[in-house]
Amino acid sequence: MAPEMILRMIQRLAFLVFMIFSFCSLSWGSFLIPAYATEVSAKPAEKTYSRVRFTAEVAGVETLAQPVAWQSITPPPKPKQVWWRMPAILFVFTFFLGIVAVAAGVGGGVLFVPIVGGFFPINIDFVRGAGLMVALSGALFAGPGLLKKHMANLRLAIPVALAASISSILGARVGLVLPENVIQIALGSAIVGIAIVILLARGAERPEVKEDRIANWLRIRGSYTEESTGHEVEWRVHRVLPGLLLFVVIGFMAGMFGLGAGWANVPALNLVMGAPLKVAVGTSVFILSLTDTTAAWVYLNEGAVLPLVAVPSMAGMMMGTRIGVKLLAKSKPVIIKRIVIGFLIVAGLRALLRGFGI
């Protein structure tokens, strides 16, 4: 079998798994992880119950035939714990999620929080904490390659990441203090908004830029090699102040929802500040490693990052993303992207309904 065919099969499998998990999560919540990964051995209890009921019925004592009476006589069955099921499913799920996220051109964090939050019996606090760590670990590993190829630019990232970092602390604090239903409503609205932004945002390959005074003062400029032509492309930015203000808002949302913020970083860098699309995408990933670090610390200090949830998710996402990048060159991701956006909208609506108690 040709390697291309194998790669295509892996991608289809990843997409299928993603579809099944997401559909299940949106339809039936946590049905795949019944009773929080606890298996109850029911047979001995049934036997005891039947014996008690038989004795009670023979004795003419009606009340003993009720389950309440059974509970008072027979100690509840000791559950057989399968604690490893949840981290194992998280690992497998995030592995496939990583492949699909790359194909769809969205960050792992933005898919992780709404889908895992809806699918796994884990409080949204821990999901957001793990979501930040997932986005952070992906950014840390992608960062060096992007910086070396000059697809990410340090001079562009440092000022905007500083603005986003400061507000991300505030966002994380607010997110951990607000009542759960308010978080769900805000998260649902944000996810639907993000899906629309991803759907509608059209990047400009190389926007026309008239360098402004702050950009000139900070010397935010650079060059990269366009691989298709081999030419060196020089670039500059403008509208730095509006860009910084936008990053304050982006940082707040990243901290509050633990989403990562690639969906917002790219349009802000490309459409507002005028960075070339490739530099905007690369720098956006790198900015995540800084913004999410600050927000992650708030979650770490507040006990909202549990290794049992975060580590399998980070490992799964990192491995999935690496394979996803290799598959990307051989796939046509437009349809995948549209379907993933569809799922984001439905996941967002589900969070909204949860928030309203519907």
């Binding site: 970092s165 670090t293 507040e302 580590v311």
Partner: protein, 137 residues
């Protein structure tokens, strides 16, 4: 390009540092998690309890389990779950280390504007990590 040589040198130095720390961090993360789940070390919270604790909010979880806040976990590294937490903490500290790494280079090249921006970011990292702004203590 020659005119961006200085900028590229600092960027490459940052990339080298990031790559080094990320790889160490990933090995440490997986190693400590393996020690945690393998059962070689005692755990503070029995695995069987997670099923009932995970649906709780973070504050309730801490209260019920008596888990440490802020940096109190440092005194509990004999437990597998706390050691695994150290792996996560290391990964969250990488940007701090790499920023320290390039601060010296920025000062050496007399790029004082960026040295100040990087210093402020380092202060933000420290404030977040110590819990001074995150309410960890």
């Amino acid at each position: 390009m020659k005119k961006y040589r200085e900028q590229n040198e600092i960027q490459n130095a940052y990339a080298e540092g990031l790559s080094l720390f990320s790889n160490i961090g990933f090995i440490f993360l997986i190693g400590t998690f393996f020690l945690f789940v393998s059962g070689w070390l005692p755990v503070r919270i029995p695995f069987s309890q997670y099923a009932h604790l995970l649906p709780l909010r973070a504050g309730e979880f801490l209260e019920k389990t008596g888990s440490p806040r802020g940096w109190e976990w440092l005194g509990m590294l004999k437990y597998g779950d706390m050691l695994s937490f150290a792996g996560v903490v290391f990964l969250a500290s990488i940007s701090f280390f790499t920023y320290l790494w390039i601060l010296t280079k920025l000062i050496k090249t007399k790029d004082y504007i960026y040295a100040v921006l990087v210093s402020v970011q380092i202060v933000i990292f420290v404030l977040a990590a110590t819990g001074a702004v995150s309410g960890g203590h």
